[in-house]
């Protein structure tokens, strides 16, 4: 099972692209600025989001901009 931001995401099939994953779990336009993704502690460049797939068991972090000093 893919784990997104620490939560198991049973609804996401193995092999899903990063772009589709972002769209489904975050409700975010994958082109949107202010979003970034790491899979198993490796950052996936924005340009590779449509071509990179997520394997079963992968731990995905999807982050976005928040206020901060």
């Amino acid at each position: 099972m893919i784990v997104v931001n620490g939560e198991p995401a049973a609804e996401l099939p193995a092999g899903i692209t990063i772009a589709d994953l972002i769209r489904r779990v975050a409700g975010v336009d994958p082109d949107g600025r202010g979003v970034a993704v790491a899979v198993d502690a490796v950052v996936v460049p924005r340009g590779a989001w449509t071509s990179t797939t997520v394997a079963d068991g992968a731990r995905v972090e999807v982050v976005g901009a928040v206020q901060g000093g």
Binding site: G32, R33, G34, A38, V63, A65, Q67, G68, G69
Partner: protein, 265 residues
Amino acid sequence: MDHQLDQTTDPLQIADRVLGSRLVLGTGGFPRMETLADAVRASGTSMVTVALRRIDPETRGSLVDTLDACGVDVLPNTAGCFTARDAVLTAQLAREAFETDWIKLEVIGDERTLLPDAPELLLAAEQLVADGFTVLPYTTDDPVLSRRLEDVGCAAVMPLGSPIGSGQGILNPYNIALIVERAGVPVVLDAGVGTASDAALAMELGCDAVLCASAISRAHDPVAMARAIRAGVEGGRLAHRAGRIPRRTYAQPSTQHDGRAEFGA
């Protein structure tokens, strides 16, 4: 006013970027997005910090859109990182998220004081510089550490005046002055500013800029405080360039003694 002391002829350059304002605004702590936008404009800043957290679909978008509308550069930070590894990964995420290789590097060593972890900070700075980042490290007020950070290629150093959000101002002006004296890169006073006079003091000590978040965002009237701290930064900068008089133990009259009227006994 002497044109050479005009703010518009005194821009700040960090790395290859010229900044129109010497106040960097932290966006943390503003209660409402509208207040943040008003404070950004009132502060006159040209660069603001942002952080990255696990995405919340509910709130996503508004911050980036708001800052874009204000026309300011975004300086992402690595707030909340306790290791060089986490800070490097967060910086890499920020580079993707904001399409900038500038990073405000924070590596914290202690939750209660939020003071920097010097060895991890230096390690992360070295790795990020090697990875092509323009690194602006939040550091202690230790002059030696500041020089080490400069030596590994940081584009500026950002010593604290006092702990983050404490509002205690500059606890060790002597150290800040030492850092300024030896620095070959811009010095940005980061953390601890509580009010306008703290920002003015930082600039009078020779800092090139001030980074301020809580003092503005948590003020009773954040927009008015943004204006006040802007004025403090500008006043302090002008005073630094103008050259203050030396401190004396005793008075020195500003009016000449000769020629005063004599009224007899």
